[in-house]
């Protein structure tokens, strides 16, 4: 990370501060763990890593994290697609916007737990019900963000493409989507953060695998080390997706719009 010009200078490189902060967190964790009378309540970092390594070697960790990631991916993709379509429709048509605004408010404020429980009751403890529940939770968020983006589309450019009779698909790809890119990115970020959390609850309540399911099992056995190990593995996966997927896309979009 290079420092922006004019930013206050710090003694060490930014990397070092990040490393120090991780070490400090581990030290704090270790101190708290050794301070407690019962080590089972808060296992030390080492014990946690041991539990994680054990799960990794047995293949369980990858299997369950993989199952969770797959659900996240499917629900996220569906919700982005449906939410974007709805958002654009609402943003472009005042009639639809007025009509469905109330529905959107309900959707935005519907507790995730209610959707999940209802989906399981109505559609059974199935994979489809689980994905549906997560998707329903995220669609309103995406739609609300995309609606604002669609409202801000430049009318002058639409007039131009209209008089020149540019094909609709070409208008979408070259004129509309570039303008929606920041909204899509914001929706992806907000939506992903939401999806992670809801998928775990869905798994905890009614799936036979996934990180959420595992956490419930560990909860029954008071296996706190494994809970922490799975959480860390999961956080690792989320950060990896952020760094390896979202940030590069974001940079690319930024280049494209500024360039």
């Amino acid at each position: 990370m290079s420092q922006p010009a004019g930013a206050p200078t710090i003694g060490l490189g930014a990397h070092w501060y990040r490393l120090l902060s991780v070490i400090a967190l581990l030290a704090l964790w270790q101190a708290a763990a050794s301070g407690l009378a019962d080590p089972a309540l808060l296992p030390s970092p080492l014990a946690t890593f041991e539990a994680g390594y054990e799960a990794l070697r047995a293949g369980e960790l990858l299997y369950h994290v993989g199952a969770t990631l797959a659900r996240v991916a499917v629900a996220f993709g569906l919700a982005m697609l449906i939410g974007t379509a709805i958002g654009i429709a609402l943003g472009r048509s005042p009639v639809l916007d007025h009509f469905f605004n109330g529905w959107l408010v309900i959707g935005l404020n519907l507790p995730a737990l209610v959707t999940i429980v209802l989906c399981y009751i109505w559609f059974g403890l199935s994979e489809a019900a689980a994905i549906l529940a997560v998707t329903i939770n995220k669609v309103p968020t995406v739609a609300a963000i995309l609606r604002e983006g669609a409202k801000a589309l430049d009318p002058a450019l639409f007039e131009m493409t209209r008089v020149f009779e540019v094909k609709p698909l070409r208008v979408l790809a070259r004129v509309v989507l570039p303008q929606l890119a920041p909204s899509l990115m914001a929706a992806a970020r907000a939506g992903l953060a939401l999806t992670w959390k809801i998928v775990l609850v869905v798994e905890l309540l009614g799936r036979p695998n996934g990180v959420g399911f595992q956490i419930r099992s560990f909860f029954n056995f008071f296996d706190i080390a494994s809970i922490l190990a799975y959480s860390l593995a999961f956080i690792g996966a989320v950060v990896a997706i952020e760094v390896l997927l979202l940030q590069p896309i974001d940079r690319q979009l930024g280049k494209w719009r500024r360039a």
């Binding site: 450019l157 007039e159 131009m160």
Partner: protein, 250 residues
């Protein structure tokens, strides 16, 4: 056939204050004509353009195309280029990928041959305007509408662009409506000059000229027409900027 007949076209706006901008415009443009519409700022020229281009349906009176609805080429008063597309891509957006060779040639013709990949924001206002002109010519329109396309170009460049427009018209006889403040420019390029009065809010004079095939300097008919047009527009509340400029066409 791509003629256009406007009869008694009216347009009023309610905001910010109620006012009538067009008070019954009659204008007929026959196939192959090059008509200039001249009027001071605020006369309603762009308003009329938007009605003709099908972007404004809140007008009164009637607009009729003779024959099929034509393919339009429009230069808006602002360049209206897509900011995140390079110039060539801006042209291909309307022309399609198959028009790449002609698009390059047209960029060359408007003297932007080395700006293929430049983004609009990296170009001057005059350069953007010329790119918009190239875009309008690219679609091989049946009906070309130009809203002050040569404004903000220096005199020599504007002259070269006028030559380009004249060549284009002579080669294709594309029916053209040119909106301009500049009477000399109107007379140099057109087969007819129509004057939109800011007071009566309609076309008050419609002056036919010998076809610019090409326009010969010193043609006494043209000089006389320019004189007439100047006299007619002298009483406008806003002075005609072309009047102060040196008389090029006469």
């Amino acid at each position: 056939m791509t003629g256009l007949v406007l009869s008694a076209v009216t347009r009023a706006f309610d905001h910010p204050v109620p006012r009538t901008v067009l008070g019954g415009v009659d204008l007929t443009i026959a196939q192959g004509e090059f008509v200039s519409l001249v009027g001071p700022s605020g006369a309603g020229k762009t308003t009329l353009l938007r009605i003709i281009a099908g972007l404004d349906s809140g007008y009164g009176g009637s607009l009729a195309w003779q024959g099929a609805r034509p393919r339009l080429g429009v230069v808006f008063q602002e360049p209206r280029l897509v900011p995140w597309l390079g110039l060539l891509d801006n042209l291909l957006l309307v022309g399609g990928p198959e028009s790449v060779d002609r698009a390059r040639a047209l960029l060359g013709a408007v003297e932007l041959g080395d700006c293929d990949s430049a983004l609009p924001g990296q170009l001057s206002g005059g350069m953007q305007r010329r790119a918009a002109l190239a875009r309008a010519l690219l679609v091989e329109p049946d009906f070309l509408i130009l809203d002050e396309p040569l404004i903000s170009l220096d005199a020599a460049l504007a002259e070269r662009m006028r030559r380009l427009l004249n060549d284009f018209w002579r080669k294709r006889r594309t029916t053209t409506l040119l909106i301009t403040h500049n009477l000399a420019e109107a007379v140099e390029l057109s087969t007819r000059v129509a004057i939109l009065s800011p007071i009566e809010r309609r076309v008050v004079a419609d002056c036919a000229l010998p076809p610019p095939d090409p326009r010969l300097s010193g043609d006494p008919m043209v000089a006389a027409a320019l004189q007439d047009l100047r006299r007619m527009t002298r009483s406008w509340p806003v002075p005609d900027p072309a009047e102060a400029a040196p008389d090029r066409a006469g």
